[in-house]
Symmetry: C2
């Protein structure tokens, strides 16, 4: 019953490649450094578009992406937009959901834990007094975010929850990231 059958892929993750990656990083720490990039162009009002393609990682510029990802953001009408895309705060929820899920699935795979399904529901509370500058006591961003996972697996739910703590975006949202913003006018 408890027999573990070693497979190359667990949860759709190539565990052999994962182990090779870890070995390579331990021999050459520099290859663990990645730089991700995005460019964004304003369209009108709350509507703008990001283009994501190039990144640096594993010691070189990536050359595998032939087409960029294009992502539209906008606001709903109640926030003076036209709903040409999810809004920036909603994209935070997507980013967090996708990163927690991937972290859970990858780290489970590394431990040989089979996952058959993962679904999550996220909610974030925000108070516009912050963004609109109507109160200095109200923060501009989310006051809290709640994530509920339903995972189809025989594994201990508490262990699965701990695997989520490996998520880079969980760290980005939970802890401060230094952000430098510069503006040049033309």
């Amino acid at each position: 019953m408890e027999q573990v059958i070693k497979q190359t892929k667990v949860n759709g993750v190539d565990v052999g490649q994962l182990e090779t990656t870890i070995d390579a990083i331990q021999q050459t720490p520099e290859i663990a450094k990645f730089t991700f990039r995005a460019t964004n162009k304003w369209i009108s009002g709350g509507h703008n578009r990001s283009t994501i393609k190039e990144f640096y990682g594993a010691g070189q510029e990536d050359a595998t992406r032939t087409e960029p990802f294009e992502l539209d953001a906008d606001e709903p009408p109640v926030l003076l937009g036209s709903d040409n895309g999810a809004n920036p705060a909603e994209f935070i929820l997507h980013s967090l959901a996708s990163c927690l899920t991937t972290s859970l699935v990858y780290h489970a795979a590394a431990r040989g834990i089979k996952i058959e399904g993962v679904e999550s529901k996220l909610e974030g509370d925000i108070d516009l007094h912050g963004f609109l500058g109507l109160s200095k006591d109200v923060r501009k961003g989310y006051q809290n975010i709640n994530v509920k996972f339903q995972v189809k697996s025989d594994a201990d739910p508490e262990l699965l929850r701990e695997l989520c703590n490996q998520s880079p975006v969980f760290d980005i949202v939970s802890n401060p990231v230094p952000v430098t913003v510069s503006v040049e006018t033309v």
Copy 2:
């Protein structure tokens, strides 16, 4: 030369509606409370999909969105994925870019500052020693994010940079947000 002509729309933002919104919030603070939501479903490996539609705000459930936004996330091959979408950390850059841009454009509109164009380039540095659990001294998320704006406007660049500070996602990334994660197995 310095004459300000009052228009309903500045930078594509309906300033009249913005002023009405601010008045309404000052009379009924409760309507400033918004709850954004996302659901996410794992597909395989690093590939998963978020669905974003309903939200609560201005005292009611939104009823204007007839179709959901569907967003795919994945990892590139070097991170064991198949590039079915930008990766979660790249979505953070999109979210930050779009929110900074909208904050700049909206707050400029509220002050009567005309913006003719906004472009931005973002970079975020990350070290996989964190995500892979290979070093406790390396954080899992971005170590820093750099944002460079080029704005077509006659306004003072330093003032425009200050308007970016109003951004909810800038707050979310720069400062800690309490995130609660629960896992139920089925």
